[in-house]
Amino acid sequence: MVSPAKTFVNHLFMLFKTAQIHDPSNQAFRPPLEHLESLLKEMMETYDVLRLEAVETDLYLNGEKIRTDVSSFSILQYMKEEFENKNIGGLSFSQIPSTPELIDFVRLFSRNNDPTKIGAEELNLLLAQKGIHSIEFLERLEKFSAQGKDRSKAVIQKRQALKNYVKALDVIKESAVKIGSAQGYETRKAKRVVYNLVDICIDEGFSFLGLSNIKNYDEYTFNHSVNVCVIAIAFGKNLGLTKKQIGELGIAALFHDYGKLAIPKEILNKPGKFDESEWAVMKTHPLKSVKTLLSLKAVNESDIKKMIAAFEHHRNYDCSGYPDTGLKKPMNFYSKVVAIADAYDAMTTNRVYQRAMLPTVALKILMDNAGTKFDPLLVKAFVATVGIYPVGTLVRLNTQELAVVVEVNKDPQKLALPKIQIVANAKGNHIEQGHEIDLAEQNGSAHSVSIEDVLHPEDFSINVAHYLFADAAKKGAPMPQTSSSVH
């Protein structure tokens, strides 16, 4: 279901777009006008005022950030740009405007596009001259004083995310122990941590995908399960899934390799290629996952999705994978998402028999196998989610400094221009709290920085996760006494 905030923005978008083609008095203008009027009536039964504001890179409705995803990005981007063109911070509706008032407002809005000559004050004067008092233009804000992004809040969120990440690792490890004694794992705990992670991801306090850069060579299977969960959650959020769907996806991803816990370690950790018999054993892990999950006997819709994802994630989009059921049936949606997240994390993690691939190479492999191993549309959406230089990628700049990507640019046209943090100078000396540079906001100056190459972190003894979460891990970082959350 689309949120009311997004619906409101969509309706405004339609209205303004239509106004670019037709005068508001034109018949073609009537439907978007009526839709917006109807929506305003409905929303103002709940809210006294509707304030739509652009702050930094986000839009807020009544102080709450509007979630972006693959589908809504362009609309939200358009609204922000329109506000910039008018030199305003947003709009406010304090009453339901009449139809003539709304028409006048739209005319005013669409005809004033020179930010050097206009602003909120001037536009409000024009509104007052028309006798419109139900709508107001808002001044531009660089930062919310009491709301919005707060650096310490971001640190607290990172801390919470780390705690949940570590707990998720624990849940998977406990499951491994309990398999041995034929008892089930604690689904309840798994749900709690996954749901917490979903809430943190949705809140967009920091680059959630950075969590998937936590790599532990000694505990690959457990680490991998949690990383696939993190990636799947971020991916699901970007696809516009509901909170519950993202939660189910996260659970499915967390347990997608559950059956591997029953594979003999000498096969699982073999430092070389599998022979035929070892490969045959390895290929049984999807079935083993299902059987173990089935033994718990709790079989609701969420459990079914989890089992299906565990069963299908190696079947391949074209059904050429395993297990081979003999049926050419399309993979379940959740299975396809998990398959991509699984492959990406596996490729970008050091394994017992091979070094990790660079993230850019892993993405290219996904794209080259779109349509055979992976769903082509989902691969495309995945690249849009993680960016061309995913969070945690170590890059060399044209200045010969080393930097870690800390945030992906949400604009699909600017995925190659992420935000980076310097981690080593040109001489290779590590810098603990290097400055950040947003490559998209350099305005083409002569001294602008660009990415020259992508590197393996271990060649430079760099743990990227350390840099991404240093502020949350250091002593003295702001954090609550105990873990608590408000819903």
Partner: protein
């Protein structure tokens, strides 16, 4: 949204009303554990709760409760207390980590029901794979807020390290050394994936392939919606389950897995999801076409699986589910029944009269007919029942079968004292074009009941037996024939006309041109019978004969001929177009 509780005046009246609301909440949670969803008591309790809660929230905007181990408080005042662990919903909330619970103005009946359902589930969940926090989270309440003390996160890890220690460990800057072979992935991995490693600007490489259009996004969304459909989900699940069963080597494990399928089947029956239950059974029956590891050792594998799926308790559940208001279409129900365990038929038959809706009962009977697979003895007890409804139900099933042994079963029923049962038994004979059935019907032409005789004649008219037709025609010409009712006489003419067609026309034509047969009334009746028979023959010659009749000097002949022509054209009351 900020809490508005700091603006509330805490009066004695306020606390009293709040207590009433909380008691009503408690009552509702208990009711939900006892009663099914549409139970009148449950609905009444729910309405009583809304009658208290809604005005409270309108007046005070919010009801915020602080959760203690066995108590709920507002500010410092207790509004609910129950020290019994199993019963206290405060205890349930507290033990799951909830420390405050707030209901806000705008809370709807539906959202309230979702909350109560979550609490009732929590109280009764035997699997314990969810708690209040996860259940509330899944509901995504708009007007209910809660805070959670997530002590789970503060527990030591499995290695007995604190969370902080573990975090420091995973973020250790020294944890950067790759301790395996220092080789790049094998060249053939890249070859397998058809990747060429050349130093190209990745920006340009990826740019055109990363912007998801609205149309593409819509396709992704519709794929998701498709996969969320219960019927799709169950198919995916069944495919997976059957793959598990295919590979299973251990008979006990095989049975356990089938039992799990049985649990799901049961859940679907409970919720009236007959279509899904049908899909499940169809997939199970596909065992016979799949190569199953155990099948060579045990050829009865499929039968065993179906037996596991249909114990007596589940058969009873099926009958209960059939009585639910909405259960989908008749075809699903009939097919589902036909795919059950044949040994469940006696249980099904016993329960049939518990099916309230007669149409659904008939559908189930049809399903049983498909299921029985030749063992007719199971119907014997029903046929000798004193309850006529039971007998009728059995006949309904038997009428769908094509088995000559059915004639043995119904032979005594044909002479039953109840006329309806007699007729229904006789009606079954229409499915049997065999000499025995024919003999029974011709004997019934002498039956003392006119209704029986009429039914037999109608059924015999489909026999195409010309010898019979001749015999009937001879009877028509006998004097005793005139003693039969007009309806019966017409039935004779009907039967002969149906069997011999045009060959009957000369005789019928002779009747229409006759003047002095028997008495006037008898003559008129004959005219009526003859013209009726001509309309039944329906051929061009019959039509011509009727048109001649319309031109007859005899008024009765004209009248009946016109009526017969109208009958042939299918327009009763329409004046004849020809013959004037």
């Amino acid at each position: 949204m900020a809490s508005s509780s700091q603006h509330i005046q805490y009066t004695e009246e306020y606390f009293q009303k709040a207590s009433q609301v909380v008691r009503a909440l408690d009552r509702n949670i208990r009711s939900r554990k006892l009663y099914a969803e549409n139970n009148p008591t449950l609905l009444r309790h729910h309405q009583e709760l809304l009658d208290l809660l809604t005005p409270f929230l309108e007046d005070h905007h919010e009801l915020e409760l602080l959760v203690q181990p066995f108590e709920l408080r507002i500010d410092e005042t207790s509004v609910y207390q129950n020290n019994h662990q199993q019963e206290s919903f405060a205890f349930r909330l507290f033990s799951d980590g909830i420390r405050s619970l707030s209901f806000r103005e705008g809370l709807s009946s539906e959202e309230t029901a979702e909350f109560l359902s979550a609490m009732a589930t929590r109280q009764s969940d035997k699997f314990q794979d969810a708690d209040a926090v996860t259940l509330f989270w899944e509901k995504e309440f708009d007007h209910i807020r809660y805070t959670v003390a997530d002590s789970l996160l503060d527990e030591p890890t499995i290695e007995q390290k604190s969370t902080t220690e573990k975090i420091e460990e995973v973020l250790d800057p020294q944890m950067s050394s790759y301790r395996g072979p220092s080789t790049e992935p094998d060249e053939d991995i890249y070859e397998d994936f058809k990747v060429t490693l050349t130093p190209v600007s990745v920006g340009a490489l990826f740019q055109e392939r990363t912007v998801v259009s609205q149309e593409e996004f819509n396709k992704i969304r519709s794929d998701l919606l498709e996969c969320e459909k219960p019927s799709r989900l169950i198919l995916d699940f069944l495919d997976m389950m059957l793959a598990v069963l295919q590979e299973e080597q251990d008979p006990q494990e095989f049975e356990k897995t089938v039992e799990i399928l049985g649990t799901i089947l049961e859940n679907n029956l409970l919720t009236g999801q007959i279509q899904i239950a049908r899909i499940m059974m169809e997939q199970v029956h596909q065992f016979s076409s799949r190569k199953i590891a155990l099948a060579e050792k045990d050829p009865q594998l499929l039968r065993k699986a179906i037996k596991i799926l249909w114990p007596a308790s589940r058969v009873n559940l099926l009958i209960l589910s059939v009585n639910q208001e909405k259960i989908g279409n008749a075809e699903d129900l009939e097919t589902l029944v036909s795919l059950m365990d044949p040994q469940a038929i006696p249980d099904l038959l016993k329960q049939l009269n518990n099916i309230v809706d007669l149409n659904r009962r008939r559908v189930v009977c049809k399903g049983i007919a498909r299921l029985h697979k030749g063992d007719l003895g199971i119907f014997m007890p029903m046929l000798s029942s004193k309850d006529h409804e039971v007998i009728q139900t059995a006949l309904s099933i038997l009428s769908s079968l094509k088995n000559e042994k059915v004639l043995d079963l119904i032979s005594t029923l044909i002479q039953h004292q109840n006329l309806t049962i007699r007729k229904e038994s006789i009606a079954i004979l229409k499915n049997y074009k065999v000499p025995r059935a024919f003999r029974i019907l011709t004997n019934l032409l002498e039956d003392s009941s006119e209704e029986i005789r009429l039914l037999s004649l109608r059924l015999l008219s489909t026999s195409q037996d010309r010898a019979l037709a001749k015999s009937l025609a001879e009877e028509i010409q006998q004097k005793p024939f005139q003693g039969k009712s007009l309806q019966e006489r017409k039935a004779y003419f009907y039967a002969v006309a149906k069997i011999v067609g045009d060959d009957f026309i000369p005789y019928l034509s002779g009747i229409l041109s006759s003047k002095n047969w028997f008495g006037r009334q008898e003559l008129n009746d004959l005219y009526q019978c003859a013209t009726f028979a001509l309309s039944v023959v329906g051929s061009p010659l019959a039509k011509q004969t009727l048109e001649n009749g319309v031109r007859s000097r005899n008024k009765s002949v004209r009248r009946y001929s016109e009526a017969a022509l109208r009958h042939m054209s299918g327009t009763p009351g329409a004046p004849s177009q020809e013959g004037h």
